[in-house]
């Protein structure tokens, strides 16, 4: 929250790099505790490569990669009282840290549930490997370019969706066993 200036300088750098039009899609979002950059998914790989490669920025460490459900789906009531969710967005939050420069930056990208594709950052930070697998496992976010995007915490044969999504329904049976037994 204190580093608004620094974030400003980062966005300026992207304006130089990508040009006004594209860079305008990178938005500084102020939330009560943390200020973060919202980056569209198609710009993620460019932005991340710049943040990683540029020695002036030098974000050499990916601290945390979080998948998240934005909870903005349209709710429609069914006849039997249950709710159906349509649409909505998923998001990925990257907490990056530059150990030599002692700087932190938070990047967020929002993708629609219908097509949740985000470029993988595993080629840059290996620590993203399992965290992306976890985000895929829990939210179904597909990280394009990830070397081995399979489930990690859930069973490999789990076919009932992605459990942390808001529209997730518990299956009735798993491997022939009633689930709420």
């Amino acid at each position: 929250m204190a580093d608004t200036e620094f974030i400003k300088s980062v966005t300026d750098r992207f304006t130089l790099l990508l040009g006004e039009e594209k860079a305008s899609q990178i938005v500084i979002t102020e939330s009560p505790f943390e200020t973060f950059l919202t980056v569209p998914a198609e710009l993620i790989s460019v932005v991340m490569t710049e943040l990683y490669d540029n020695p002036a920025l030098g974000f050499d460490s990916l601290v945390l990669l979080t998948g998240n459900d934005e909870d903005d789906a349209v709710k429609t009531k069914n006849d039997d009282g249950s709710e159906t969710l349509t649409g909505g967005n998923l998001s990925v939050v990257y907490h990056l840290e530059s150990l030599p420069n002692r700087k932190k930056i938070i990047i967020k990208t929002i993708v629609p549930k219908a097509n949740p594709e985000v470029p993988s950052v595993t080629p840059l930070w290996v620590s993203a490997d399992w965290q992306e697998r976890e985000a895929y496992d829990m939210y179904g976010i597909i990280f394009t370019g990830h070397p081995n995007l399979i489930r990690i915490l859930m069973p490999y044969d789990w076919e009932f969706g992605f459990p942390l999504r808001k529209d997730y329904q518990n299956p009735e049976f798993y491997q022939g066993i009633k689930v709420p037994y």
Binding site: S31, F33, S61, V63, N68, D71, R102, S127, D129
Partner: protein, 373 residues
Amino acid sequence: MIKEFVSEEMVINMGPQHPSTHGVLRLEVKLDGEIVKEVIPHIGYLHRCFEKHTEALTYPQIVPYVDRMDYLAAMYNEFGFALAVERMAGIEVPPRVEYMRVILGELQRIASHLVAVGTYGLDVGAFTPFLFCFRDREKILSLFELVSGARLLYNYIWPGGLSKEIHPDFVRLTKEFLVYFKPKLTELNRLLTGNKIFIDRTANLGVLDIEKAINYGVTGPNLRASGYKWDLRRDDPYSIYDKFDFEIPVGDGAMGTTGDCWDRYYIRVREMEESIKIIEQAIDNIPDGDVKSAIPKRIKVPAGQLYTRVENPRGELGYFIISKGANNPFRVKVRPPSFIHLMLLDELCRGNLVADIVAILGSIDIVLGEVDR
């Protein structure tokens, strides 16, 4: 012709029931003779849906769940979580609570490192150090039992304070423990650290250089063993750690290469010494006060998101809390250090022998409860 001499690849399954996978971890090991070609960890056997549970729980209700992640450092998990909630809800904690948290946290660090060091001895075949360490750890657990009533999963540090007033004997017994424990570290060093066979087994093995360590997201003792001075207690201070004088030990490759298994082992022994220093500075200065005075009746966190991190015995433990202003969090994402560290295993094990897998796995010190959550 040459092709015929290439030996057949052998796949062995280490775990989930194996004596030295430190829990229910399954390693699919591809071997050429005894040489490891690839290690594929399969995790999730201990998955207890922590993040799903938190969606339905209020903040104080989450504390017991937090205990069960890294069950060897439960006190520190609570510490981190309480800190995260306090920062978001804007709760000021009385100094008495802060001092107690630091003391308990450092005791927990010693206890956790004792398990790490002891089981590491067990991994390389020395049984006695393991029991020596557990004997001393029991004494710490007894101190925890004194304050919280539980030996492993405490539910003691609550957002805003502590769940119970400190036991009147705690300060005296902690001091007695410190007097008792210091010579025991020397004993451990003489039994295991300097042992020729132990050094042969661990030095120059599983070397992790700084760049790779940072790229793999390695934190905590493992990163420091690679020679990088990075400790959140210093570099991103929280609670009252800035009041204490302690050193941050870094690996120097005394027995081989910087960042080898021996360094990762010895860094933990030295951190125990530093933790003793912190406790010694804190134990006499616990201010008076009421440990429960700042605990709110009902914790309501304003909408927003915050990533709070603490230096867990295993590395950087972070809580990323997204709140929508309700009684319960919208999302609590944990950054478990063991989960990140486990990614290293394949990289470090390749080309080594089967016996080295356990030596490397032991040296990066994972807790499966935290890996799977």
